[in-house]
Symmetry: C2
Subunit: 442 residues, 2 copies
């Protein structure tokens, strides 16, 4: 295999499992403790993992996941983590629905200068009503309009990142010349959603521009990702589903004139690692027993687009009539398909969801976990994985100490970072600056 497996760590307070905070060995207030995140970052970097990833939400999310009730804002946390790491990528989520492109372009440029080219922006659209209410809105934009706005938003951000050519800032002390105005480019963007003149007050990123991540699995989401993303996060449960998604997206990438290797597809994965598979399953069972029923049911309701399940018997299958959502459609569909396929009751489904938040769970000893990772990558279901570790730091320690050496031994994972920037470590090409090209054409 030419390409190594790419591995991200999805940061989340005490862990991905919804009851992880109740585990006796876990720090319950981890979601606002910087030292906790610092420890995770150091373990992940010791394991040579590609990046730390932080999701986000612009509201208080009720009962959903304790690690999301109160938490760090991603750009401030990742800026702080930049100082205590040297090689690992740092990826932050920021929504295109309730932000302005100038702020986002600038904050990620600043982060990228602080950490020497290790930043990534996870581009999302917002769909929670609770977010709209914090930003002067009665309701959120429809799914299609959110993606229209997102597409233009990304275009503006990329344009702003290209404001300064790499050698624009000459800083000639003798002649008193700070920059070369011929190498400064003003965007003058006028679009349907945004009017942004530019230029950006940050010089060109050490990695050309920050990495762009997307996670949409809807038609609009896949199109946007195929056009603009360097990394795609996804959530398939079976190899067949993953292969179908992988093939569709890579074909779309080619249609947009890009090389299929220029986009890395990384499904979410929640690995339970033990010295034996039995031990791994016991770790899972121990966490499952800590789930508070109301919390699990509420999380499931949310993932089904806000459909209220509280009236339905827990030992029966999902009702037939779950309506379409203006929220995350693909997650809703994945869960309904899973429940039908495996004939799960509501309780079984919420227990499943609570354990992995809708992502694939695997169990095994180190060799068994490595087998399952290898299978998906060799069979073109994934280029890597976004690890949704059940509890921090224990599950990350297990993965780094037990699984990473097996992957390295098989030649599937790096033993040293390939470069200093995230772009180099992901094996992605330097982006061309749009203004340089235009000038050459003139």
């Amino acid at each position: 295999m030419g390409q190594k497996i790419k591995l991200g760590v999805f940061l989340m307070g005490s862990g991905h499992h919804i009851a992880s905070w109740r585990h006796p060995h876990v720090q319950a207030d981890a979601s606002e403790d910087f030292r906790h995140y610092q420890e995770i970052a150091k373990i992940a970097e010791k394991g040579k993992l590609d990046m730390l990833f932080l999701s986000d939400g612009l509201s208080f999310n009720g009962l959903s996941h304790p690690a999301e009730l109160v938490r760090f804002e991603p750009l401030t946390l990742l800026a702080a983590l930049s100082v205590v790491t040297t090689h690992i990528g740092l990826a932050a989520t920021a929504t295109t629905t309730y932000n302005e492109p100038f702020h986002i372009a600038r904050k990620f440029a600043s982060l990228d200068h602080i950490n020497g080219g290790r930043s990534a922006w996870n581009v999302v659209t917002s769909y929670y009503q609770t977010e709209a209410s914090n930003f002067n809105q009665q309701s959120h934009l429809s799914h299609g309009l959110r993606y229209d706005r997102a597409k233009e938003f990304v275009e503006v951000v990329k344009g702003l990142w290209d404001s300064w050519e790499e050698d624009a800032l000459v800083r000639d002390k003798a002649f008193g010349v700070y920059f070369n105005p011929d190498k400064l480019h003003t965007l003058h963007h006028q679009g349907s959603y945004f009017s942004v003149k530019g230029p950006l007050n940050a010089s060109r990123s050490p990695q050309g521009r920050p990495i762009i991540i997307q996670a949409g699995s809807s038609e609009e989401g896949m199109n946007l990702a195929a056009q603009t993303a360097d990394v795609i996060f996804t959530a398939q449960q079976t190899l067949e589903e993953a292969q179908a998604f992988y093939k569709t997206v890579k074909e779309k990438v080619i249609e947009y004139g890009r090389s299929p290797d220029d986009v890395k597809i990384m499904p979410g994965l929640s690995p339970f690692v033990g010295h034996t598979e039995q031990e791994a399953r016991e770790k899972y069972q121990k966490l499952q027993e800590l789930i508070v029923p109301e919390v699990g049911l509420d999380l499931l309701s949310e993932y089904l687009g806000g459909f209220d399940l509280s009236g339905y018997p827990l030992d029966q299958p999902l009702p037939e009539n779950i309506p379409e959502t203006n929220g995350n459609r693909s997650r809703r569909e994945l869960l309904i398909n899973l429940a039908r396929r495996e004939n799960l009751t509501i309780k079984e489904l919420y227990l499943h969801v609570a354990g992995s938040r809708g992502h694939r769970i695997i169990f095994g000893d180190p060799e068994g976990i490595a087998d399952q990772l290898e299978e998906w990558v060799v069979n073109k279901g994934a280029d890597g994985f976004n690890l949704m570790l059940p509890s921090f730091p224990a599950s990350l320690n297990d993965f780094v100490e037990l699984v990473v050496p097996v992957l390295q031994h098989r030649g599937l994972f790096r033993t040293e970072y390939e470069g200093k920037t995230l772009r180099e470590n992901l094996g992605l090409p330097e982006p061309e600056a749009q203004f340089d090209k235009r000038q050459i054409r003139v």
Copy 2:
């Protein structure tokens, strides 16, 4: 003297003097070098200074100050500096004109959790046309409306910071209870500019809430500051002007039902320190000689509200007919008064402005500098100073190594930090949470 002098360091790339980047001992690309800021932070903390302060701008500012052309975004830079410091306060500017209160409340709350209660928010309004053009606007709001918006903005941010009572997050593992809903408060703000439901997804700040700084010297600016600020930055040139401002503001503070000690007034000050006053003046002269005339003239034009001076003879006084501005009115007025009072030519005025960016410049040996600081504080012109050091790190080193020991010896400045939070070190009282009070009233 009961209260010690408060001292802030105004961060700015290579230094405050506009030609500092040309100095042979100065790093010309300091404005985007994190290690440079880290070094400054460590020197300032060694000197037990109160805080580092970062101004901001949301646009490319033409020729004005090289340290402002490309630069770090304040919240990301200060989050990173949080990790390499332990006691010094970290103050970031964020405008109320092109931001949303939820984002600002959250980012400062996050920063405050990262650094254990050492954050401050410098509340400003935007007036540059170049900023408006980056945020979908043809022109900026008028002066009065900007302050109306700012006032409501601060009110919303403070309300969001009070979302969670200090002991709201119980995290009871045994009972599976993460928080006490009776201690979570939803803001439900509906105002002229903002509709923000809340609550904030960040717990109460380690210092109650982040420190609020303001710098407006207009009538609206002073009113807003007297009502809501903990610290006021200002720019008087003479002790008489400073005393008048100090008296007016402290009286307004009392009118709003607050104690005059609860607001610290800190004028900007650009100190040139030498082993002798002569050496200090030579340092100034050396930097003055490096000023590029077009840059100095452009900066002066900007400070006069965008009035184009390029047609006027440099060896004559300012023209009479400089129109009112919708920008920073008080700075314009200060400069016009200074030029009239000292009978300066345009060239002398731009040389003066370029040296200190419109702030007071003082020269002296360590005792002489200490005398000038003491004079203003004893005579109620200031509670402290925001140091606008001509070049980094040299001028900061001079101040910390030569002046701080003199101030300490006179009992005017701390020898150890009083506490862990910025609020403790500034000697400010714990803020009352608005929701707790309301509940007690019911």
